[in-house]
């Protein structure tokens, strides 16, 4: 099975990092993975996004025309990627910045006040990890354990403090994302 996740938001929201964490987690589970950043016009300020594919078979196109999960952390991201969501896919929205309602209905929507939660945790840059936590609570692309392990590895160079913060962020998102009837 092949699952594609698109993360998108402002630069400085830790989008690319979160995507790499997911890819690492997938690799830790001996799955095939690919991580593709938007390296285009978004560079300077603006919007950053990346596509992460986790699959049981060798991966074909690293560019997707159907995503199983779209994580949109700001309004432009929603507008840009909503359309790529596969029927029944999961849309994670940053409630703090996005008032708009998604145009499509054949999908599952998870609204999280990511910005607010990030401030709780203490650093805006963990916002993507929070959202990713929420997403994984709904779609077990990889196990929470693999995610934590990957976070430990990748956040390490930032020091204990940063690692702890990221783990908190993931836990928080994972908890808030849990389906009500769970």
């Amino acid at each position: 099975m092949e699952q594609a996740t698109i993360l998108s938001g402002f630069g400085g929201q830790g989008i690319l990092f979160a995507g790499q964490v997911l890819a690492h987690a997938g690799m830790a589970e001996d799955r095939h993975v690919s991580w593709l950043p938007s390296y285009g016009p978004e560079m300077r300020g603006g919007t950053a996004s990346c596509t992460v594919i986790v699959s049981d078979a060798p991966i074909g196109s690293p560019v997707v025309d159907r995503a199983d999960i779209v994580i949109a952390l700001n309004p432009p991201s929603l507008a840009r990627f909503e359309g790529l969501l596969a029927p029944g896919g999961l849309l994670v929205l940053n409630d703090s910045l996005i008032e708009a309602e998604p145009r499509r209905t054949v999908m599952e929507v998870l609204r999280l006040p990511c910005s607010a939660l990030a401030r709780e945790v203490g650093d805006e840059r963990v916002i993507s990890v929070i959202a990713l936590g929420g997403a994984l609570a709904r779609r077990r692309i990889v196990s929470p354990e693999s995610m934590r392990a990957a976070l430990l590895e990748l956040a390490a160079k930032g020091g204990q403090e940063v690692v702890a913060m990221n783990l908190r962020a993931f836990a928080l998102g994972f908890e808030r994302g849990a389906p009500i009837e769970a």
Partner: protein, 91 residues
């Protein structure tokens, strides 16, 4: 248009409702160069808000204290400010 006109010397405190700055909020990138440049320390980022560009935009904390010196405008990379002084009374 950048001739260094000085604000009117009426001596009197400006009426509180007088607005010396127009701020193009959605152009601001929160670089805080104006904050450093403002001699009256009446500029700060509105950390609560995020503008269209995703930044915390600048805000004027005390309109009355602003002397319309326009230093903020001179340092702003994004030409966010229009600066006004009270009109002088003609005659």
């Amino acid at each position: 248009m950048t001739i260094g006109v000085q604000p009117s010397r009426t001596g009197a405190r400006a009426a509180p409702s007088f607005q010396p700055l127009d701020i193009a909020r959605d152009r601001c990138k929160g670089c805080e160069l104006c904050v450093a440049a403002c001699p009256k320390h009446v500029l700060e980022l509105s950390t609560g808000a995020v503008n269209a560009l995703g930044h915390h935009p600048i805000r004027l904390t005390d309109a009355a204290a602003c002397t319309s010196c326009a230093l903020c405008a001179r340092v702003c990379p994004d030409a966010v400010f229009t600066v006004y002084a009270r009109a002088r009374i003609v005659g």
